[in-house]
């Protein structure tokens, strides 16, 4: 099995702000920070965060993603990913997996999370079977 057969609904916050403000933001303890782009953070499992450095920051609940655990990253990449994976951890990789837009969070402990929009979760699950 490449990934866990159950995708959990992911709960967190989405923060859009200036890169400098995100770099300096005091993220709540215990939260997982996924930096999607320089101005975009997905904060998993957290209280509502604040971004003091940017009064126009968009901070909103994010419940649009599902998460699964990747059991065999090598096999997943070999069978379903055309692009090259990052060679260092921790890191975030984004692109199509089995033709579905998705994200891979490569954690420092060697584990890997698969994030996909809830709307496309079924399609990805079917394609990974």
């Amino acid at each position: 099995m490449l990934v866990s057969d159950f995708f959990d609904h992911l709960s967190g916050w989405r923060i859009i702000a200036s890169p400098a403000a995100l770099d300096a933001a005091p993220w709540p303890q215990g939260s997982q920070v996924v930096r999607i782009s320089p101005d975009d953070v997905f904060l998993i499992g957290s209280e509502e965060p604040s971004v003091p450095g940017d009064p126009w920051a968009i901070v909103t609940p994010e419940l649009g993603f599902s998460i699964a655990t990747v059991h065999d990253l090598g096999a997943l990449a070999e069978q379903h990913i055309e692009w090259a994976l990052p060679t260092t951890r921790p890191s975030l990789a984004q692109g199509q997996i089995a033709g579905v837009p998705a994200k891979l969070v490569l954690l420092a402990d060697g584990s890997t999370q698969l994030l996909v929009a809830c709307a496309a979760r079924h399609e990805l699950q079917e394609r990974l079977v």
Partner: protein, 718 residues
């Protein structure tokens, strides 16, 4: 010994035999004739193997029970194949250095690369790894016994060697002709080739009925034999190198060596794949196709199974003799090996079709789902007319989660939106909303939606379901181009949306806990709890009735939907699908961008100048609209009514009594209105003077002002 079935007859084979060797061991030609190379270079051994046509039997190991049928004589096999119930597996593999061909030169290249510290992957057809194509990337597509490999490499070395040249002369499609290496391979396998005649470039003809009985040499000598071994030299196997000229491919060994062309062919079959003769080539040459690529295209020489592997040297010699100069080989294109459709499709997916958070609810309600705008959406729930009446007379729910939704915020957000949209933005008050269209720089309608002001420096934008996928890119691209400080967050897949619509919509909201005084008025929006679910409630109308779009986090969608369905039971609530929705909005004359508009539709053409404020100093498309406003433009979208069944969308609009080819437009939207009892439709008239009466489907249709329904818009404000 094991057996395979060849043309219906069981034949025995030895361990290690290919299907081609098994055939010749049993006195058969694996196809129906022609020189055998037994190296995969030609198409003279292709057959139908276990239902798959065009299989090179010289590259296919014989296995117990394999069923082989030769292609029909003089015809191509049907393109069928074995039924495949599972997708062909694909593997994405990476290597720094890929060496294709594991002969002497390939092994040397691999050793040299490894000595430099490269990881090396070697591929050879003899090992079951047939390279099908080399693409930019570089990416190498390989057919393997277990599926298709997509190899991503930094460097590619081609060590594919050289292919032996086949004879072209009268009788060269008989059975019993071998290249030297093929004859050696057959003999090594213990095949009895009978009386063998080894011959070189002095061969002028091969005699026989089905198989070879004799050869004739240039000096007139005739030699009786069962097998001809034609030793005519070789030509580089460089098909893959010629396939991707922009890819860093190194060619080494015999594949890179200079080889002399054979003598110009005088008679016989040049292209065994297409059975194209020297006479055929002369025919196209005489018609003026006097370059190698032209001869190829006109005669189809080189486009068959072997992709020029056999015919290229002879074709080049043919052109060289007639033109006086030696032409370069023609362009090579994938695939270098025949693929099944399943293999060609391996690893490729159709578009992703998303599901709304209410997908299971729709299925449970018996909805017929359709793929629309990249989503699975309910087309109807079994009775679209009843769904229509629920909207017009009671209350109905529609799943509009697919709408594009975006939050924009920043110190420059008003300036950015003023430039993005042709409507005024600065005067939208907090808590109010405005319908807007988006234009291209040419002033053509790109999409439409709403602007809703959340705060002085923050807005919510909506887009059509079809336009949502490109909306973020469109906004970001312009904002960054202008250097404005605006944050952008797409919420399309994170927020669900339910449209509560109908004259009893307000009553349903009241029952869901929204006090009358809290309900937003038309074109207002407010954040409220509906049935306990936090919602951004937007008071809009696409159906023509009072409508409240309830935008919310998708984890609460099912809870909200079920609560509204339950609370609405006494009011006659039922869900409506797209079929009813499209009819409802057609009665209101609301356009569907992409259906009622064309790629070059300006606001003027759809009578929406009111949505454009040319008094604004700048917005996307303004310059084009100012310029084209001075030009005559006869194309207009009209509303029509007609008796009888509604015509199909796309139906031709003609002048009354016009000729069959006298077309003035087409129908873009069409609906049998249950309320009016006749058809209402929209469509184009593309020339002036515009007619008041036109002909559609052989019937008269009358131009009618739109909206057809509630032109004052009173019902949306109930």
């Amino acid at each position: 010994m094991s057996r395979v079935v060849y043309d219906g007859t069981p034949i025995e084979y030895d361990e290690g035999d290919t299907l081609a060797i098994a055939a010749v061991r049993n006195g058969q030609h694996p196809a129906r004739g022609g020189t055998l190379c037994l190296a995969g270079d030609c198409g003279n051994c292709v057959a139908i193997v276990d239902g798959t046509p065009w299989v090179r039997t010289c590259q296919t190991p014989a296995r117990p029970g394999s069923v082989v049928r030769r292609h029909p004589s003089g015809a191509h096999p049907s393109p069928g194949g074995p039924e495949q119930h599972t997708a062909v597996a694909v593997r994405h593999r990476r290597a720094h250095h890929v060496v294709i061909g594991n002969g002497e030169s390939g092994a040397a290249a691999a050793a040299a690369a490894r000595a430099q510290g490269d990881t090396v992957l070697m591929l050879d057809a003899a090992d079951g790894n047939e390279v099908v194509g080399v693409f930019d990337g570089p990416t190498i597509i390989v057919r393997t016994p277990s599926g298709i490999d997509q190899l991503h490499a930094h460097h590619i070395t081609l060590a594919t060697g050289a292919a032996e040249i086949h004879p072209v002369c009268p009788g060269n499609m008989l059975a019993g002709i071998y290249t030297p290496r093929a004859a050696a391979a057959a003999q090594a396998a213990g095949v009895d080739l009978g009386r063998i005649a080894v011959v070189g470039r002095n061969l002028v003809a091969i005699h026989g009925e089905v198989g070879v009985s004799a050869i004739e040499l240039a000096d007139g000598t005739v030699i009786e034999c069962d097998t001809v071994v034609a030793d005519l030299g070789s030509a580089p196997r460089d098909l893959l190198a010629r396939m991707a000229p922009m890819v860093p491919v190194s060619v080494v060994g015999p594949a890179a060596a200079a080889h002399a062309l054979p003598p110009c062919p005088q008679e016989g079959v040049v292209c065994p794949c297409g059975k194209i003769t020297v006479e055929d080539l002369d025919g196209v040459w005489s018609k003026g196709f006097n370059e190698l690529e032209l001869v190829k295209r006109a005669s189809l020489t080189g486009v068959g199974t072997c992709q020029g592997g056999v015919c290229m040297p002879h074709l080049r010699a043919f052109v060289a003799e007639r033109s006086g100069s030696e032409p370069q080989p023609f362009t090579a294109r994938p695939a270098a090996r025949q693929l099944t459709l399943g293999e060609a499709a391996a690893g490729y997916h159709i578009d992703t079709f998303r599901r709304t958070p209410l997908h299971a609810e729709h299925v449970a309600l018996g909805a017929t789902l359709d793929k629309f705008g990249g989503w699975y959406r309910p087309w109807h729930y079994g009775d679209p007319v009843a769904e229509y009446w629920a909207v017009r007379e009671a209350v109905s729910l529609g799943d509009v989660s697919t709408l594009g939704k975006m939050i924009v915020s920043g110190p420059d957000v008003v300036e950015a939106l003023e430039r993005l949209y042709p409507n005024h933005v600065h005067d939208i008050k907090v808590g109010r909303a405005r319908y807007v269209i988006n234009l291209t720089e040419r002033g053509h309608i790109l999409d439409d939606g709403m602007i809703l002001r959340d705060a002085d420096d923050r807005f919510t934008l909506t887009f059509t379901s079809g336009g949502a996928s490109t909306a973020e890119m469109w906004v970001r691209d312009w904002v960054e181009t202008w250097g404005l400080k605006v944050h952008v967050l797409d919420r399309t897949v994170s927020h669900g949306a339910i449209n509560v619509t109908g004259p009893l919509a307000g009553e349903l909201l009241r029952r869901a806990g929204v006090a009358d005084e809290e309900r937003p008025k038309f074109l207002q929006h407010r954040r409220l709890a509906v049935a306990g679910v936090p919602c951004h409630v937007m008071r809009l109308s696409f159906t023509g009735e009072a409508s409240f779009e309830l935008h919310h986090q998708i984890d609460r969608s099912v809870e909200l939907w079920q609560a509204l369905m339950h609370l609405g039971q006494p009011l006659g609530v039922r869900p409506h699908g797209l079929q009813a929705l499209f009819g409802l909005r057609c009665e209101k004359g609301h356009i569907l961008v992409g259906q009622d508009t064309e790629l070059d539709t300006s606001p003027r053409r759809v009578n929406m100048d009111w949505a454009v404020k040319l008094d604004k100093p700048a917005f996307i498309g303004r310059e084009a609209l100012v310029r084209t406003a001075r030009l005559p433009d006869e194309r207009r979208l009209f509303g029509f009514t007609m008796e009888g069944p509604a015509p199909l969308e796309g139906s031709v609009i003609r002048p009354v009594g016009g000729a069959a080819d006298d077309v003035i437009g087409h129908v873009t939207s069409s609906w049998n209105s249950p309320l009016f009892g006749h058809a209402v439709l929209m469509g184009w008239q593309k020339r002036a003077p515009h007619a008041d009466v036109v002909e559609i489907d052989g019937r008269e249709a009358h131009v009618s002002p739109v909206p057809f329904y509630d032109p004052e818009g009173a019902r949306a404000r109930l």
